[in-house]
Symmetry: C4
Subunit: 195 residues, 4 copies
């Protein structure tokens, strides 16, 4: 199985997911500033989800960079990840529509958590396939970010029933954590090229 | 004709098909758990269709792997397959909207059956073009799965007018049958590389 | 300018155009056969448009195959073509919604005509850029199909105000004419490879 | 990081953005000419936005042509640009829906301005990464168009509260300015290939 087509398909799905979210921002009928006001929470949730899909696309790219042979299990673990990410437009729309109410906030966190778990499974399968000298395992190292993210998601899910805005802070924190460029994989790759 | 562009176009269509299905999961206005309840059948039908598109993408990829020259008939047989697959979001939405009623269940099976027939036609045309030493013909062999699938679809279509859930079981069985990784083509390919 | 990215972008737009048309087939609320009946004209117009986009994608591919350097004018002539093709989902939806009434039928023909003109302009620009020894000019030759199509479209547009179904026959005839595989470009290409 | 996947992802997003705008042209229920009349402003705004996305795709392509190594900051500056461009279908729909009223006209200009700023940031980051001998810096030169565009957008935004059609003229002027083929980058590239 060629890696190129897996990447192309994933890129296609992620490009569509990131773009169809904008269809949730329904064009208002009026032409006044007050007509735009109800769209603000929808826009805010769109921005957050846009960043999340961007992060996943970026990390996905780096991870696949270390893959040589695509097996059937990698393929399905990848589709499993795309499945959860494909639900992000739905929860984003629900979140914005309901002005960050408790349940939509919790469901948003659950979809993020499931995506993180799907990403983790894909990572495990790739590392297992690469064997002991796995370049990906080296690149990830202790994976502080990867371990912190699900904890923050769970805290966010729990917090959303108490004060939804606390959940929002948790989700924003995880996004910021990943936005900071991660030099680990690139560095390890560069070193492995040297040897 | 280059194979690359046929693959890219097919990947694009399949990526869009798999993603726009999510647009059928309409964002509910309320923010309570009861507002999500009517979405459960829509989500379930989405999951089944997502797996089916994944299977088609996977098998399509393997099949085209054996193709060298893309003729006009391969191109149109491929578009014919994409046509039936493009109707899956519609029947998926209808199925979920009507809580797995008889007629939607039957139509779902009919679209699956037509897709399988279109896939079979494409396979025949490729094998014919490859001649006696067809690598694809060898790879498929007796093609138990390929022969069982249409029978299960037909049984499902018939069953849907009696008890729709029996049809559901048939459609899930076919999906599970294909989800189990198929080492035939990969093995045959590997052997042909050796010689 | 690299040809690859022009092809990829065109493939992307065409893949989306061919797929979003299916969104016009709105999921009916009922689950009976009578609920599907109003969808028949929408499905029929979808099939015709699907074939037209398939033809354009196919011919576009063959035409670009002869291009080496993509200039700014080729790029914009290509976008001009994509613009008219992007309106096909709209006219397809309007045609199906109004059961092949006169005006939608005429507008459908107008969009097909404008697409054909845009295609012709793109062809001219490519041939001009290739100079006297243009491989594309040779491949097209007398271009019977290319000359007949706009005449049939115009006849269809005129006929649609008299009897819409006559217009439909003209549009179907053009589609059938192009569906028959066109060995000219491939043959000329093969010969040019020999020399 | 490979440039190819960044280009493919950007192409995908732009192809979707340019195509989903057409979904804003809702299919009218009637089949008479008067039913099409309210769609004229929507079609006009669609044409303008189609040209803008075409210009961005074209310039984006030329700019990335000079890039060799894609860093994390280039990647996020690129996503930032795609974010603003992804909002164009929304403002296009709002503009057409309200027949070019003041506020939609101003917001259209604001999104164009933000896209231009995002493009400028991406350009700066690429030039900085290329160092003193930046091929992109040479290619852009004094960048008259790049400097005039934001001024025209701001004039348009201001004018939209006075006479919206003046804003329209400013936006059309910028589009025309960029439509005229820009030989600078290609020429500089060609010269750098010679040396």
């Amino acid at each position: 199985m060629q890696k190129g087509r897996l990447e192309a398909f994933s890129d296609g799905v992620l490009a569509i997911v990131i773009t169809i979210m904008v269809l949730e921002i329904k064009v208002p009928h009026g032409d006044e500033l007050s007509d735009l006001k109800p769209l603000i929470p929808i826009l805010l949730s769109y921005i957050l989800s846009f960043i999340y899909i961007g992060i996943y696309w970026n990390n996905h790219h780096h991870m696949l960079h270390t893959v040589k042979h695509v097996s059937g299990s990698i393929l399905w673990a990848n589709l499993h990840l795309l499945f959860w990410l494909s639900l992000i437009p739905f929860v984003t729309g629900w979140l914005g529509e309901n002005h960050f109410a408790s349940l939509p906030m919790a469901l948003y966190g659950i979809i993020l958590l499931m995506s993180a778990i799907a990403y983790f499974i894909l990572q495990r399968i790739i590392i297992k396939a690469q064997g002991k000298e796995s370049i990906l395992a080296k690149a990830i190292g202790k994976d502080l970010k990867g371990n912190l993210s699900p904890i923050f998601y769970i805290l966010g899910i729990l917090a959303s029933f108490y004060k939804p805005w606390i959940a929002g802070i948790f989700y924003i924190l995880v996004a910021l954590m990943w936005l900071i460029p991660d030099p680990r994989i690139e560095r390890t790759l560069r070193e492995s090229h040297k040897n």
